[in-house]
């Protein structure tokens, strides 16, 4: 089976933790070391090896490569030191066990211990290895998860014989699998006086050989049993029900029973119900005569918030203070890049503003656990299972295709072997497990890419992405309600701001602003340079100066283009083309300046239509717009749900017909 020269990895499981607080020295109270546990066959002798993945879970240090975790790329082709640890794992024939792989980055190059797990290396001070023949017993304990304590025979000295090996905590499961694999090489029998203690005895070599054969089948049976009992399998079971879900791909679900009229615009109007906004006669319309908005104030932008200023907004325990001021500064100038990694976690709601450093560490630990539990779910789906799960298969295939087409000129994602691509893939796959109903929809990779770029960490990026998706969710849902809502809201705003322009667009069948689709779906991700996207997003996430500020950003851009569009007398197609071609030609600071000016202009208007105040949240914010932000977990999908046609109704068709959410302007 194995080559003489190579060691064979018989078992591998990542996401095995050491809690260093259980370490007597007590200095590094909070350290949670994550690593991988293996059983390795080295020329017939069986070793148990533990290697930490990173120094700590403190994710601020990011690493060079982990290892293959998906079909996106072959790590074996990795250049240099990266490939080192990757190759070994590929020899694992128990691929079913080769489940959760944390891919991560190290800023400094990995110091590879030549596979010898040398203890002298500082970063591998938690690494250990021992021969199974030196093992006396294993104690199995439960504490919501399993952890194992290894006791070695006195004579053996793995490293420091006096100090016991640290307990291994199986936060992502796998302890039973580990023990079962071990049973192939050793007899594990319950100690007569302690049922949690398994005594280890290793048969001689010849015997172990036949054991291996014998247990192969046996083990297989066990595997299946175990799988049925494991909690995550239950989860998988429930989603296998949805495999019958029929993607009625090409039968129109829009029920276009009557043939649509000639013009594309009318079709779009049908698809996007409620967009026939100029039909003033319709009951329920709030008819408003032209409103004089007054002059638009000139505003100036400021410098980005520096790292120094950020720390000034922290109390000794690490709570953020003067948050209202802080957000204001971020709104006015954004963040300098060094601050983003930390600040975005607050802005997105992953970290509560009033949490202490301590609390955040604990949160991250829990979230790490939770993340890997979900990652394990898709990682552990066998090929067989996937064959019977068309939705999962479709998600995976879409993700693989899109990951290869997302920001590939960015250094973080360029080239073929870039670990950034694996991370994008893995996080999106895990998001499918987090929200299987939504799964993966094109556009989501665009939303994740900047976040991952800033976080440089799989787990943090995932949870920040989850928060962002809470805001963006409706854009991607089956009926794309979020898109419809926003297009209507934008139309309402534009009519208030510039009725003449809107009338022109309407005369060109473009009054429903279809050409803003890409802007809205992925928040200008494709319209701006990567760095400008980072700036725009952090500004938006402050929630200032009003709700739905991104719609005012649209208005600002349109305001700059209207002269050209009207003077050149652009028609339907040319407008679409012109707007598409603005991509990468926009100046973010100019746009933000204008958008803020527009917000002030609207705010100073006395008799604003109800609908406009609702869109911009001028009503709700009287209660103080949570300046200190309770910092609680973000409510699922807050913004748009409330905003939906400014009254929280789900369906615009309904909304339009029996309340006065629509507005008509008469010039």
């Amino acid at each position: 089976m194995a080559e003489e020269t190579v060691q064979k990895v018989v078992f591998e499981h990542e996401g095995v933790f050491i809690h260093s607080s259980s370490d007597e020295d007590g200095i590094e109270q909070d350290l949670l070391v994550s690593g991988s546990l293996r059983i390795v066959d080295k020329d017939g002798e069986i070793f148990v090896e533990y290697r930490p993945l990173e120094d700590t879970v403190d994710p601020s240090n990011m690493l060079c490569a982990g290892k293959d975790s998906s079909s996106v790329m072959e790590w074996a082709q990795c250049p240099g030191d990266r490939s080192h640890q990757l190759l070994e794992t590929q020899q694992s024939y128990e691929t079913e066990w080769d489940m959760v792989n944390a891919v991560s980055f190290k800023r400094r190059p990995c110091t590879n211990g030549e596979g010898s797990l040398n203890h002298s290396h500082e970063r591998s001070r938690w690494a250990f290895t021992f021969s199974v023949s030196d093992l006396r017993s294993i104690t199995v304990k439960e504490e919501g998860w399993s952890f194992l304590l290894f006791k070695l025979k006195d004579s053996s000295s793995p490293s420091s014989p006096s100090s016991p090996l640290p307990a291994l905590h199986f936060h992502q499961g796998g302890s039973r699998e580990f023990l079962d694999s071990l049973r192939r090489f050793a007899l594990l029998s319950e100690a007569p006086d302690d049922e949690t203690c398994l005594l280890v005895s290793t048969p001689n070599k010849a015997l172990s050989q036949s054991f291996e054969n014998l247990l192969d089948d046996n083990n297989f049976g066990l595997v299946h049993q175990k799988f049925r009992k494991d909690p995550y399998v239950t989860t998988l079971g429930s989603f296998s029900k949805v495999t019958n879900y029929i993607f009625d791909a090409f039968r129109g679900t829009e029920e276009q029973h009557q043939r649509p009229p000639e013009e594309v615009a009318d079709l779009l109007g049908e698809v996007i119900p409620g967009l026939e906004i100029n039909q003033q006669e319709e009951p329920g319309f709030e008819v408003i005569t032209r409103i004089d908005l007054g002059a638009r104030p000139q505003v100036t932008r400021r410098e980005p918030l520096s790292a120094e200023d950020w720390t000034k907004h922290q109390d000794p325990e690490g709570r953020m203070i003067k948050i209202r001021h802080l957000k204001q500064v971020i709104f006015k100038g954004g963040l300098c890049h060094a601050v983003r990694k930390e600040a975005w976690k607050f802005l997105l709601g992953y970290f509560p503003w009033d949490s202490t450093l301590e609390e955040r560490k604990a949160l991250q630990r829990n979230k790490t656990d939770e993340y890997f539990r979900m990652k394990l779910q898709w990682k552990s789906v066998s090929e067989e299972q996937e064959r019977r799960n068309s939705r999962l298969r479709d998600y995976r295939s879409l993700i693989e295709k899109d990951v290869n087409r997302t920001d590939r000129t960015n250094r973080f994602y360029e080239g073929i072997d870039n670990p950034g691509l694996v991370l994008l893939h893995d996080i999106l796959m895990t998001y499918c497990m987090y929200d299987f109903d939504l799964g993966y929809v094109q556009g989501m990779s665009d939303l994740l890419s900047p976040i991952l770029y800033v976080m440089e960490n799989e787990v943090d990026a995932f949870w920040c992405f989850v928060s962002f998706m809470d805001q963006m969710h409706q854009n991607f849902e089956e009926q794309m309600q979020g898109m419809k809502t926003q297009l209507i809201q934008l139309s309402t705003l534009l009519r208030l701001l510039d009725l003449a322009f809107w009338n022109y667009l309407e005369s060109q069948d473009s009054g429903y602003l279809y050409f803003c689709f890409r802007w809205l779906l992925i928040r200008f991700k494709r319209e701006l340079s990567f760095q400008d996207v980072l700036r725009l997003w952090e500004v938006m996430w402050t929630g200032l100066p009003c709700q739905n500020f991104h719609l005012l950003v649209c208005c600002a851009i349109l305001d700059s283009e209207k002269q050209k569009i009207m003077e050149e007398n652009y028609g339907f197609n040319e407008i679409l083309k012109h707007i598409n071609e603005l991509s990468m030609k926009l100046d973010i600071e100019e746009i933000l300046q204008k958008a803020e000016g527009i917000s002030l202009q609207i705010r100073s208007c006395k008799d604003l239509p109800e609908s406009v105040s609702n869109i911009l949240g001028f009503h709700t914010e009287v209660s103080g717009s949570d300046p200190t932000d309770p910092g609680s977990r973000p409510a699922p999908r807050p913004a748009q749900r409330q905003d939906a046609c400014s009254n929280g109704h789900g369906h615009l068709r309904e909304t339009g017909s029996h309340n006065s959410c629509k507005v008509a302007f008469i010039s």
Binding site: F247, A249, F250, G252, E254, R259, P260, E262, E263, V264, L267, L268, V271, L398, K401, D402, R405, T406, R408, T409, E414, V441, Q442, G443, D446, F476, E478, M480, M483, Q508, D509, Y514, F517, R518, L521, I522, R526, G571, F572, N573, E574, L576, K577, N580
Partner: protein
């Protein structure tokens, strides 16, 4: 007589990732960008060309292939003169879906006589070595579905891309000639649709 410029609208349809945008870009700009983003929304590019003495402006429409965005792409089908059904020779599923794309197009473009509508089938990524769809299979499908012309293309190395578009134009012109015989009208087809892109006339 003045020279006539016809504006023809062709639309590229097919599964996500088969190379629709790459084909369009190869044809219009003669470039292949391996870093291209997947398409969101709808885009189009214009290209002037001459086929058999006819001046033509091709307006090539490209959409996103994912199911979810169907309701936002189908309105743009209307008014198409030709539909390029695209699959990728290294992706069998994309080949199997051709029939669905055809159906979707006919339904939403509201084609009067589907049997006569000019479809052209493109099997893209010819340069890839691991094929999942053989030329014979594809030929057969084309034959059985209405005797559509079939081209194996590579947006990457430009194989057959221009030829396929030119064939599309020929098919459309041939159709028009037929109908022109039936209904003699002004043959100048500038601005066939009230607000399609302006193309310069003579």
């Amino acid at each position: 007589m003045t020279t006539k410029t016809s504006l023809l609208k062709v639309i590229l349809l097919g599964d996500g990732g088969v190379g629709k945008s790459s084909i369009m870009n190869r044809y219009v700009t003669n470039k292949f960008d391996a870093h291209l983003f997947h398409t969101i929304g709808v885009e189009f590019l214009n290209k002037d060309l001459e086929v058999d003495g006819h001046q033509v402006t091709l307006q090539i429409w490209d959409t996103a292939g994912q199911e979810r965005f169907r309701s936002l792409r189908t309105p743009f089908y209307r008014g198409s003169d030709c539909c390029l059904l695209t699959f990728s020779v290294d992706d069998n599923q994309s080949f199997l879906n051709l029939g669905n794309w055809k159906k979707e197009f006919i339904y939403y473009a509201d084609v009067k006589e589907p049997e006569k509508f000019p479809f052209v089938v493109l099997g893209n990524k010819l340069d890839v070595t691991e094929r999942q769809v053989s030329a014979e299979e594809a030929q057969q499908w084309c034959q059985e579905n209405g005797d559509y012309p079939y081209y194996e293309t590579s947006a990457k190395d430009a194989t057959n891309v221009a030829i396929a578009f030119e064939e599309a134009v020929r098919r459309v012109l041939a159709m028009d000639e037929r109908t022109d015989h039936l209904i003699p009208t002004d043959t100048v087809k500038l601005h066939r649709k009230p607000r399609s892109a302006t193309t310069c006339c003579s």
